[in-house]
């Protein structure tokens, strides 16, 4: 088994209202040096690596379901063997 974490975020060109609101809140805390916050989500997948290539599974699952390419983009980390 392999643990994979897939990160999904808005594309650069898409306005992220949550990120903007959180940035404002951080500024209210006094951390004016925090210039930008991007909000996203992650999915932890446990994948049986014995048959299909893990990278292929991650790519297909992301592109067919987890990511809406109109708005979002993704990257992933392959973590230690479970």
């Amino acid at each position: 088994m392999v643990n994979v974490r897939i990160f999904v975020t808005y594309k650069e060109s898409v306005f992220d209202p949550q990120g903007e609101t959180i940035t404002d809140a951080i500024h209210s805390l006094g951390f004016s040096n925090v210039k930008k916050v991007n909000v996203g989500k992650f999915f932890d997948l446990q994948i049986d690596s014995s048959d299909k290539k893990v990278e292929e599974v991650v790519k297909e699952v992301s592109e067919q379901l987890l990511v809406n390419f109109n708005l979002e983009t993704y990257r992933y980390d392959v973590m230690e063997e479970a």
């Binding site: 060109s13 898409v14 306005f15 209202p17 949550q18 609101t21 379901l65 987890l66 809406n68 109109n70 708005l71």
Partner: protein
Amino acid sequence: MKIAVVVFPGSNCDVDLFEALHTVCQADVEYVSHKEKSLESFDAVMLPGGFSYGDYLRCGAIARFSNIMPAIVEFAKQGKPVFGTCNGFQILTEAGLLPGALKQNNSLKFVCKTVDLTVENTKTPFTSQYGEKEQISLPIAHADGSYYADQETLAKLEENHQIVFRYAGENPNGSLNDIAGITNEAGNVLGMMPHPERAVEALLGNEDGLRVFKSLLESGKNTIEEAAF
């Protein structure tokens, strides 16, 4: 014309849609469960508002995997009228039947109010009873109604007159180009965030949505007449 109102787990405007057609328009309408696999015998399909599958992952993303979905895609490909309001619109974009996507409102708030709209295209099966550039008011109720598409897609929508409804006053959600409703390129699939089914009787305070349904029924008559001659 026989019309299907598809019911997903979490749909909550299905009864409004059904009654707008049944009680107000005296149309032949039936509920169709998401578990069904066929839309044979129907002439139009309507996807209601609500929170199908709890809005898990993204609004409308999971409904794409319902049993009924391949039949809806096939129905749309055949050029038959398909309509989605609110969550129905989100489902149609997630299923790839309409371009672009609906994202969280810029305000981050659930917006529930009546908004002003301009009817931008009256040459669709859902808007023939409106006047070109007519100003109407319809209720909206959503948290994820901000329409987004890349610049190329937006330009194509404008060029092909696929933008059918536009917010006329204040833009309530940050939708690009003030988009409230669009069709596919062929014009037989319409998705819109406002709820015409909630504005079909004077008693409810607004009748501006009624002509969406009257237009559809009228288009059905024309099709039947064309077939007869």
